[in-house]
Symmetry: C4
Subunit: 247 residues, 4 copies
């Protein structure tokens, strides 16, 4: 085990300062577990075959939501195992993250179900289903509001991670961070800022109805920026890392 951890440290370049689990982590794990568990099991258990089939239709939306939540969990895990912070301030920021996780769990599942139904209807040219989606599920004029809600959530989660990493950076001396660790933390901040700015841009477009009746489409297409911005941010980070190692 020790050897295993050592190898891991060498690979990511981080001394793991928070190896012993603290209660902030145990509470957070409990909250993540509940958010994930209730996503699927909050409805009544199926009591006949048609209810069971209804239940299985949750497969894809649930899979999508659990994947995103677990990705957030993994970022959370990395932060706490790397820096081992557990002061009152970190607890407060962590509370905001937990709040966002719980608050966006159901809306995320809603979004995945909507997107899956939408693609299915578009792929099968099912006009009846399309009509159903845009009348019963959501009216076209409400779609920008949807983009605002999700954009704010995504943005907020990334900026909480920026905040947490910034906090660790401010304690670089106390935590005895190496040059390499400081660089890696800065890179992490760059990635999270980039990830957080794009949904925020989408929010602004949706909020001010930029594009009139095409607002929904435009605010959605903004997310394509990820394919350009992320590789750039990542390349910048790697370059800085190479410079450091060259010294």
């Amino acid at each position: 085990m020790k050897k295993n951890i050592k190898k891991h440290e060498e690979k990511v370049g981080f001394t793991l300062r928070g190896l012993e689990n603290t209660r902030i982590e145990s509470l957070s794990d409990g909250i993540f577990a509940i958010a994930i568990g209730l996503l699927l099991m909050s409805s009544d258990p199926p009591s006949n075959f048609s209810e069971l089939m209804e239940f299985t239709r949750d497969l894809l939306p649930f899979a999508g939501t659990i994947a995103i939540l677990m990705w957030i969990w993994y970022q959370h895990y990395l932060f706490f195992i790397r820096f081992g912070l557990r002061d009152a301030g970190t607890t407060a920021i962590n509370t905001m993250l937990m709040f966002l996780v719980l608050f966006y769990a159901y809306p995320l599942k809603f979004m995945f179900r909507l997107l899956i139904n939408l693609y299915q209807a578009l792929l099968t040219q099912d006009q009846a289903m399309l009509n159903h989606i845009f009348t019963d599920t959501i009216a076209p004029q409400d779609t920008p509001t949807l983009m605002v809600i999700y954009g704010l959530g995504a943005s907020a989660i990334f900026f909480v991670f920026v905040w947490l990493n910034k906090r660790a950076l401010n304690r670089a001396e106390i935590l005895d961070l190496s040059e390499l660790e400081i660089r890696l933390t800065k890179n992490s901040i760059i990635m999270n800022v980039t990830s957080g700015v794009i949904p925020f841009l989408s929010v602004l477009i949706a909020l001010f109805r930029v594009g009139g009746k095409y607002t929904f489409m435009i605010s959605g297409f903004v997310y394509i920026l990820y394919t350009i911005a992320m590789p750039l941010a990542s390349r910048y980070g790697r370059k800085k890392l190479a410079e450091l190692k060259a010294d």
Copy 2:
């Protein structure tokens, strides 16, 4: 990490006696996580846009409740990490705290929603909304009962912390508490007693209908005492601490 904890100890003046998590703490974390998680996710997941909007209206009440619960969690965390008690008696007192946390989670959310609606109606001079609040949500003659319920809860939680800290103080010798630690624990007791007396005063006013039809208002205004009592209690504590350090 070790260094980090050391610095922390120096700052707060406490040797952390309960660094390894005990099962009382792990059970309590589970209960806190469930209380926080169910606050938001106990209702059915939204299945269309209007239900989603309904869901987002929980944002502020949920944020308020989670903040209070996390504040209680942090006090709980500090107590157990400082003294590391885990005997049958502490377990019993902790059970009372868990009982209060679970019992007041929903009522807290109810209160935040009521207060937010009330301020919103008052700020926007929305007479229809005010009427709705005082007929459908709560009748004016029931408001004193509300003050009794919440005052008892707030009071009980503070006095449980008084009880726990008193218990630690009684074990000062076994726990090998330093003079400084004894003083800090006493200060903590003073703060909690002050915090607990004020809601209890509000309960008495509401219970005996002191002030007739103005009972609701008067029992509410009692909480303004916090702005006077807390600084006084805090100053007294700091003075005693300074005396100790002077010796």
Copy 3:
């Protein structure tokens, strides 16, 4: 902390073999937390004052149930911290205990509510309420079945603890139990057997309708045997302990 644990060991006479938490314990804590949390928060949150008052009526039944569940938790905690067992067999027996805890959580709350209503009706001579209890809540001819359900549950939980302690005793050599520890474990078995036999007696009476139409009363009065049997069992245990220490 170390010193604190040491003192504790001296007092109860047990070397704590399971100080590091295992996953069996962490899973069990999660299940206890959920059982306790859902007891109160499984219903929808209150949305107006009358629903809030309805909610507060759960205070006493919830307090009673949480007290019993926490008592079981404490026995569970003691067993695992004392012997530190975590093999497949212990996991299987523990699963039975978790099953009983979850299965009896709701019925326990039901029983407390019934008893509280009953005593309230009897104390206030409220004939209407008594009628309501024995028609809408439970018909008189169903009461023996109720005694069977609860008796079996109580009995099963005590015998699971007998089983677990017996298992530890069988591993006395591997666990390196001292003479004193063996005696204390045997005493614990005697107490649990006594506690388990009484509800089982009640079950038999209720099952075979011993006493005709007085079956409910008789099967209930059986529990008074606790006031005789427990002190006897406890005295026997203390005597054996004294003999051991005399040698």
Copy 4:
């Protein structure tokens, strides 16, 4: 404790590399606890005797489901305590397992209830109950779909364990696995592959309606293969183990 663990290691032949609990395990325990807890407590608490009796009818289906979930938990526990892996890849595979556990919890309970009702009806020759099962609960033509759903779930869970063990095997050098440990891991893979292939066979039969109107029966009888395949797989594993020890 140490001695106890040592003995345990000697018995199973594994050095326990993951003795300290990691957060992957703590999160997983939380999810298992929620899956198990909600199985029983997701419905509203019983408020009168007939609802209580209705609730107790869940006894057997719940017992069956909890037994299967705990068996999965134990495999999960063994894997993580043996290899102590906690990298991003293991987290991702573990997420799939958690997804399957949550997704199949309710359907498992549904299946147990169906099977119990079916056997009960067949044993008591209760024609009315049989009719009820095959009209209200599930129509005969839907039964193959049921076999597909369950077969895929069972298969997927076994193959996730194959994947996890394969992953550990690929890291044999980093983890410093002994010859014996490599053999035991391989045996574990053989058992899991065998366990996973049989339900997959049942899925294929049900999917392609092999056997026409007897599809349900045939796809069910496939599971009898377990009685032949498992002993064979187990014997093969023991033989290989004996060869290794002979060298």
